[in-house]
Amino acid sequence: MIIVTGASRGLGRAVAVSLFKSGKEVVGLSRNITDCSFPTLTCDVTNSESVKAAYKQIKGFKQPVSALINAAGVASMNLALTTPIKTVEKIINTNLVGTILTNQAFAPLIIRSGGGVIINFSTIAVSIGLEGESVYVASKAGVEAFSRTFAREMSPFRVRVNCIAPGPIDTDLTAGLDEKQIEAVVQRQIIQKKFQPENVAELVELLLDDRTNSITGQVLNVGGV
C-alpha cells in the first residue's frame, strides 16, 4: 500500500491517480475528502492527533505499507516583510511540521513491511532562492534538510527518503498565478519548460522502483537548476 498525503488536489491528487491507475494500492489522505477514484482517509497533517488517527486506521488495514508520498502543502507568494504571522505559521505548520509528523507516524509502518520509500515534496524555489517566496522557501528548505537527515536515520531499516522539488506545474494550485511570474521561474530551470503533473508522477514511480535503490537523501529538482 502507498500512502499519499495532500491527495485531494494538486500534485498529490495527480500522483495518487497515476499510481492507482497503474494498479498500485493507494490510500489518499487529505483534510477534506473529495470525489476520488482511490480510497481516502481524512487527515490534517498539521494535527498530530489527526495523523495518529490515520496511522491507526491504516495499521488496522493489516497490509504492508511500501511507501509514503508527502504532497500535502500550501504555497504562498509574499514578500517576507509583508507576510502576516498567521500566514507564516500556516506555511511552516503545513509544509514542515506536517512533513515531520507524517514521516514520524508512517515510517514505522514501512519499517514493519521490511523497508520502502518516502518521498517528500520541496520546490525548485529553494535552490534558486526565489524572491517573493521567502517563508515558503524556508519551510521547504526545512523539508529538504529533514529528508536528508531522516534518510540516514532510516537507512538501517532499508527505507529510502528523497525529495522531489518541482517548479511551476500545471495544477489547480497554480491556475490562479500570474503567467509572467510562472514563466520567470521556468526560465531559471535548466530545462526551460513548464512540466506537467504526469512528469512528476513518473518521477515518483521511478523513485518507488527498486532499480533506484541506490538513491536516498537526495533532492531531485524537476527541470534542473
Partner: protein
Amino acid sequence: MQKLEQLAFETIVNAIQSDAIEIRYETPLIGAGSILDSMKLVEVCLALEDVAEERGFEFDWTSESAMSTKRSIFRNVRSLVGHFCEQGTKE
C-alpha cells in the same frame, strides 16, 4: 500490573536479543553505557507497540517524556517498562 511489567520486560529482552549482555532493569537504553544503537531501540519500541495492541491499548513512544534527558522513558529498561505499564493501565 505485575504480569504486564513482566511481559514488557520479556518483550524488551527478546527484542534486544543479546547473548553477550544480561539485560537487567537498570540496563541503560540511551546515553552513556547504552547497549543499543538507534536501530535496536526502534525495534524494541515496535515490539512493545505490538504487545500493547494485543492487549488493547496504545503504546506512545513519541511523548514529551521520551525526549527528556532526566525523565526519558529510554533511561533504562525500568523506565521503559514503567512507561509501558503506565499507558497500559491508563486505558
